[in-house]
C-alpha cells in the first residue's frame, strides 16, 4: 500500500495507525534477527506516536500529511532521548538531547518512527559491513550485503519493516543500497533537506533523502521533509515545487543524456538494464542524446580527498570530554589518543588519517586544494552536459549486491562501488536510483537518474516514466504467451 493510501485510510479512520504499526512490528520480530537492519527498534516511542495519531483522528484533528506512516531512520540522525550511535563504539549509548530538523518534521506530520537503522560507521562504507554492531544482510539474499552506507535503511524498506526510510548520501550512500535492495532511493540537491541533526560525515556533500517502494512515495516524502531550515546555513532559502505534482508529466520531448565517456566498470547485466532504460524512455517519447562529462572519472579521487578532509575535522569532536566513550588516561592528551583509538573502527581511522594528511601543512595544495579544483571541473562539465540534456542516466552501482567479505582488505575496491554516484555529490546535484529489473542471480539493478541543481521535478518525471515502463514490461512478461 502506498503512503498516500495509508494516509487517506488513517485520516478517514478506515484503519488505525496502531494496527499498521503492529503489523510492521510483527514483520520486524519475524525477520529482523536475520537481517539486522536496526541498531535500535523504538517500540515504545512508535506505539506512543501511533496512538497519538489515532487520538488526533478521533478528536477530528488533522494528524498531518504522513499520518500513521511508519519510517525507519538511519542511526546518524539525532532523535531526542533515543540512542543515536552512527554504528560507532565512540557513540554507543549516547542519547541526543535534541531532535534533528527532519526528525522533528516527521514527528509533527504524523509519521511513526519504528527504529534507528544500521550503517557503515559514520556512513563511511558501501556495504554496511563497517558497523561496530555487526553487518546488515540484504533481505533479497542474506548471503549478500545491502550496500551502504545506509544499508539498514534500504534493507528495512525492502524487508517491509517500515513504509519508508531516511538515509544520508555523501557519495552514494542512498542510491547504491537502494539499487542493491531493489527500492527507490533519492539524493536531493544539496540544501534541499535540512542537515540540522544529521551527524556530519562530510558537510559539503551530505544530504538526507528517502528510501521508498515507489517513485510516488519518494516524491511525497520529499514534499514533506524538503524546504528551508533556518538552523542550517546551507539550506536553500526557497520553497520547492511539489514533486508529487510533477509525477504525471511524462517524458515526451525530454532529452535524456547518455554519457559517452562514462568510466568503465559496470557489469554486463547492469549495462543491459541501463540500455533497456534508454530504450523505454525513447519509446515513451524522449530523445536520447550523447553527452560528455570528461572529469566524471576524477570524481573518486576528488571525493576521497575532500570527504575525509572534512570528516577528519567533523570527527575531532569525539574527544571523550562531553559525551560518548572515554578511555581514562593520566592526562587529557593521552585520554584523547586512547579514546579515539579504541572508539573508531578501521575504516573511520583510515579516513581520518587520509583527511588529516590531505589538510596538513605542506600537503594542502597537493591534495585538498587540488581536489577542490577537480570538484569545480566536474561541476562545470555537468553544467555543459545539462545544456544538451535534461537528465542523465547511468548505473547506480557497478554491480548487483555482492557477497560479504568479497571486497577483501583493499579499501579501494570498496571505494569503486561509488564510481557512478560520487560526482553527483561533488556537484551538489540531485540523483536517484530507480529499480529497473534484475540482473545476475535475479538480484535487482537500479538505474540512476541524474539532474541539475533543483531539477528534481524533471528527475521525478523521468523516474516515474521508468517505473511505469518496468511495471508494464513485467506485466507483459507475466501474461500468458
Amino acid at each position: 500500500m502506498g503512503i498516500a493510501q495509508i494516509v487517506r485510510d488513517v485520516k478517514s479512520g478506515a484503519i488505525m495507525a496502531a494496527d499498521l504499526l503492529e503489523q510492521k512490528l510483527a514483520t520486524i520480530s519475524e525477520r529482523e534477527p536475520e537481517i539486522h537492519a536496526f541498531n535500535h527498534v523504538m517500540v515504545d516511542h512508535a506505539r506512543a506516536a501511533a496512538a497519538a495519531v489515532d487520538a488526533a483522528v478521533a478528536r477530528g484533528d488533522d494528524p498531518g500529511p504522513l499520518a500513521g506512516v511508519t519510517v525507519a531512520l538511519k542511526d546518524n540522525m539525532c532523535t531526542r532521548g533515543v540512542p543515536t550511535t552512527c554504528s560507532s563504539k565512540i557513540h554507543e549509548g549516547w542519547k541526543p538531547p535534541y531532535d534533528g530538523t527532519v526528525v522533528a518534521t516527521l514527528r509533527a506530520t504524523g509519521a511513526v518512527a519504528v527504529g534507528k537503522t544500521n550503517l557503515d560507521e559514520f556512513a563511511m562504507g558501501s556495504s554496511t559491513e563497517n558497523s561496530a554492531f555487526g553487518p546488515t544482510r540484504n533481505p533479497l539474499d542474506t548471503s549478500r550485503v545491502p550496500g551502504g552506507s545506509s544499508g539498514g535503511s534500504a534493507a528495512s524498506v525492502a524487508a517491509g519493516f517500515a513504509d519508508f526510510a531516511l538515509g544520508s548520501d555523501t557519495g552514494g550512500s542512498i542510491r547504491q543500497p537502494a539499487s542493491l535492495c531493489g527500492v527507490v532511493g533519492v539524493k536531493p540537491t544539496y540544501g534541499y533537506v535540512s542537515r540540522y541533526g544529521l551527524v556530519a560525515f562530510a558537510s559539503s556533500l551530505d544530504q538526507i533523502g528517502p528510501f521508498t517502494t515507489s517513485v510516488e512515495d519518494a516524491a511525497l516524502v520529499l514534499d514533506v521533509i524538503g524546504g528551508h531550515d533556518p538552523l542550517d546555513s546551507t539550506s536553500i532559502p526557497q520553497e520547492h515545487p511539489s514533486l508529487v505534482a510533477a509525477l504525471g508529466g511524462g517524458v515526451e520531448g525530454l532529452r535524456i543524456g547518455r554519457i559517452t565517456d562514462l568510466p568503465a566498470g559496470a557489469d554486463p547485466d547492469v549495462q543491459e538494464r541501463l540500455d533497456a532504460a534508454f530504450d523505454a524512455l525513447r519509446a515513451a517519447g524522449a530523445t536520447i542524446v550523447d553527452v560528455q562529462v570528461p572529469a566524471f572519472g576524477y570524481g573518486l579521487t576528488a571525493y576521497y580527498l575532500i570527504a575525509p578532509a572534512e570528516a577528519s575535522s567533523n570527527l575531532a569532536r569525539y574527544d571523550g570530554v562531553r559525551y560518548g566513550l572515554r578511555v581514562e588516561a593520566a592526562d587529557t592528551n593521552a585520554m584523547y589518543g586512547a579514546t579515539r583509538e579504541a572508539g573508531f573502527g578501521d575504516e573511520v581511522k583510515r579516513r581520518i588519517m587520509l583527511g588529516t594528511y590531505a589538510l596538513s601543512a605542506g600537503y594542502y595544495d597537493a591534495y585538498y586544494g587540488k581536489a577542490l579544483k577537480v570538484r569545480r571541473l566536474i561541476h562545470d562539465d555537468f553544467d555543459r552536459a545539462y545544456q544538451k540534456a535534461d537528465v542523465l542516466l547511468t548505473p547506480a552501482s557497478p554491480s548487483v549486491a555482492f557477497q560479504f567479505g568479497s571486497k577483501g582488505d583493499n579499501p579501494l575496491a570498496m571505494y569503486l562501488c561509488d564510481t557512478y554516484t560520487i560526482p553527483t555529490n561533488l556537484a551538489g546535484h540531485p540523483a536517484m536510483s530507480v529499480p529497473y529489473g534484475t540482473g545476475q542471480f535475479g538480484l535487482p539493478v537500479g538505474v540512476q537518474v541524474l539532474a541539475g541543481t533543483l531539477q528534481e521535478p524533471t528527475m521525478f518525471r523521468v523516474a516515474a516514466a521508468l517505473e511505469r515502463s518496468i511495471t508494464e514490461s513485467s506485466a507483459l512478461q507475466g501474461s500468458p504467451a
Partner: protein, 479 residues
C-alpha cells in the same frame, strides 16, 4: 620613531598588540544561547555550543554589525569575508576546531590615532568564536601544571569575538598603554563591547621585539596573560630588558610564547614556536560567506555614535581646554562629555562644568542623575562672583549628595550668600540715597568716601553682602 627612554643603550622597542574583544551581543556567535558573563557554569549551552553531533552554526547578524562597527571605528576597509576552521584539540574547544577568519577577514588595513597624534596601523579585525573556561584543581595557584584534574565551563564557548591585530608600530610601553586605553574607549563608545580586562571581555597579547633603530625587526616573543593595562606595560618593559640582556651578552632571542607572571614580575616560556601546531585551516563548509553590501555598511556607519577622539575635540573647543588635557581625556573616557555640554546648553559655564565633572563625577557613570540645570546654576553663581571657588566645591558636594539642588538655596543655607545681585543692587541704591554727600565725594574721586556707603550696605545686609561685589556695583554706578 624614537628609542624608548627606559631602554639601555640605543635599543628600540617594537610592539604589536593582538586584542581579543568579546562582542556585546545577546547570544553567541553561531547559536542562540545567552552571551552573558557570570552565570552558573554550563547553563548557557545548546547543541552548537557543546559541539554536539549534528549541530550546525548560523551566524549572528548583530555580531557581524558590531564587528563592522569595530572596523569602521578603526578606519578599516570592510570586505567580503569567509570563515575557516582552525583545527586543534583542547578541552575548552568543544568541536576541536575554532571557527575563525583566515585569509579573508571582515576588516583590513585600518589605523588608530593615539591621543597626541601617533598613528598605529591595524592589520585586520576579524570575527571568531571564544573558547570555554578551564579551572585547574589540585595544583598550586590554579595553574595547569601540577593540577590533579581540570573542570570545564562552556558558557563562554561560542561567544563572539573580534580579534584586532595591530601592526608593530608601537615604540614604548606607554604607547601600548595609550593604545589599549584608546581602543577600550572606542569599543565602549560604539557599544561593541564592555571591554573589561578584569572580566576577560578584552584580552591583550603583546608581540615584543627589540632592535637598533633602522635595522630589520628582531625576533619577537608573544606575551600572554596580561590582565590589566598596568601589567601589560610592566610585562612589555620586562620583556624588552630580557631580550636586550640576551642580545648584549651575545645570545639570540628564541621565538616563543611567554607567560607573564604578575607575582614575580617576569615572563616565562610557555611554548616554543618550533613545535607549533599544524592547524589545518580549511573553509568552514557549514557556513557561507558574508558580503556586506554598500547599503549595509552605510546603515551601520550611520548608526555609529561619535568616537572618543571627535568627542574630545568637541569638548576641548567648547571648554577652551586642550583635547589631550587630563580633564577632557578623563571626562570623555567616562562618557560624561555630553553632560558637560548639556550644562553649557542650559546657560552654565562649560569650562567650570568640565572641572566640576572631572573632579566630582568619577563615580556617577556616563549618565549622572544630578540635574544638569543645577550644575548650570552653580557655575553661574560662581562665575558671577557671588560665591568663591571653595564655596562652589562645597555646594557641588551637597548637590551630588542630595541628587540635585538649587545652588543659591544651598549657598544661602550655608550662609555663603544672602542676596542675589539684583537684591543687592537695591540695597546699594538705598545706601546711596541715604548718604548723598558721601556719594558725591566718591563720584568726584574720593575713594575713601566709599567706606561709608559700603558700611551702610553691610549694616543693611547684616554683613552677608560680598564686599567685592558691592565695590564693583558702586564703581559701575559711578561711571
Amino acid at each position: 620613531m624614537s628609542a624608548y627612554d627606559g631602554l639601555p643603550g640605543d635599543w628600540e622597542l617594537v610592539v604589536g598588540l593582538e586584542v581579543h574583544v568579546e562582542l556585546a551581543t545577546e547570544t553567541k556567535m553561531f547559536s542562540a544561547s545567552p552571551n552573558r558573563f557570570g552565570d552558573e557554569p554550563n547553563t548557557n549551552i545548546d547543541p552548537v555550543t557543546l559541539g554536539l553531533p549534528g549541530a550546525l552554526p548560523v551566524l549572528n547578524e548583530r555580531a557581524v554589525e558590531l564587528a563592522m562597527r569595530v572596523g569602521l571605528a578603526l578606519n578599516c576597509t570592510i570586505q567580503p569575508c569567509t570563515f575557516h576552521r582552525k583545527n586543534y584539540f583542547y578541552p575548552d574547544m568543544p568541536k576541536a576546531y575554532q571557527v575563525s577568519q583566515y585569509d579573508q577577514p571582515l576588516n583590513i588595513d585600518g589605523h588608530l590615532d593615539l591621543p597626541g597624534g601617533r598613528r598605529i596601523g591595524i592589520e585586520r579585525a576579524h570575527m571568531e568564536e571564544d573558547a570555554g573556561k578551564s579551572t585547574h584543581v589540585g595544583g598550586t595557584g590554579g595553574r595547569v601544571h601540577g593540577a590533579d584534574h581540570s573542570l570545564l565551563d562552556l558558557n563562554r564557548a561560542g561567544v563572539p569575538l573580534v580579534e584586532i591585530v595591530g601592526r608593530p608600530d608601537i615604540r614604548s610601553a606607554e604607547e601600548a598603554r595609550l593604545y589599549v586605553n584608546e581602543l577600550r574607549a572606542i569599543l565602549v563608545a560604539i557599544g561593541a563591547s564592555d571591554a573589561k580586562m578584569e572580566e576577560g571581555s578584552l584580552r591583550v597579547d603583546a608581540n615584543v621585539s627589540v632592535r637598533k633603530p633602522g635595522e630589520p625587526l628582531g625576533t619577537r616573543c608573544e606575551i600572554k596573560n596580561v590582565n590589566s593595562v598596568r601589567s601589560m606595560g610592566r610585562a612589555i618593559e620586562y620583556e624588552a630588558r630580557r631580550q636586550i640582556d640576551l642580545l648584549e651578552s651575545g645570545d639570540k632571542v628564541r621565538q616563543e610564547t611567554r607567560h607573564w607572571d604578575e607575582t614575580d614580575g617576569r615572563t616565562h616560556t610557555l611554548r616554543v614556536k618550533e613545535d607549533a601546531d599544524d592547524y589545518r585551516y580549511f573553509l568552514e563548509p557549514d557556513l557561507v560567506p558574508v558580503a556586506p553590501s554598500h547599503e549595509w555598511i552605510q546603515r551601520v556607519h550611520a548608526s555609529m555614535p561619535p568616537l572618543p577622539a571627535a568627542r574630545r575635540d568637541h569638548l576641548a573647543v567648547t571648554t577652551g581646554q586642550g583635547a589631550d588635557s587630563e580633564a577632557v581625556m578623563s571626562v570623555v573616557e567616562r562618557g560624561q562629555d555630553h553632560y558637560v555640554l548639556a550644562v553649557g546648553h542650559l546657560g552654565g559655564d562649560s569650562a567650570r562644568a568640565l572641572v566640576y565633572v572631572k573632579e566630582a563625577f568619577a563615580d556617577l557613570g556616563p549618565d549622572p542623575t544630578v540635574p544638569a540645570i543645577d550644575i548650570a546654576g552653580l557655575t553661574k553663581l560662581e562665575v558671577s562672583g557671588a560665591i568663591t571657588a571653595t564655596q562652589a566645591k562645597a555646594i557641588l558636594a551637597e548637590i551630588i549628595a542630595n541628587g540635585g539642588g538649587d545652588a543659591s538655596v544651598i549657598a544661602a543655607a550655608k550662609g555663603f550668600e544672602t542676596l542675589d545681585t539684583s537684591a543687592l543692587e537695591s540695597v546699594v541704591d538705598q545706601a546711596i540715597a541715604d548718604q548723598p554727600d558721601a556719594w558725591a565725594k566718591f563720584c568726584s574721586g574720593d575713594g575713601k568716601a566709599m567706606g561709608a556707603i559700603v558700611g551702610a550696605v553691610m549694616k543693611a545686609t547684616q554683613g552677608k553682602a560680598d564686599g567685592k561685589i558691592v565695590t564693583a556695583l558702586l564703581n559701575r554706578k559711578k561711571s
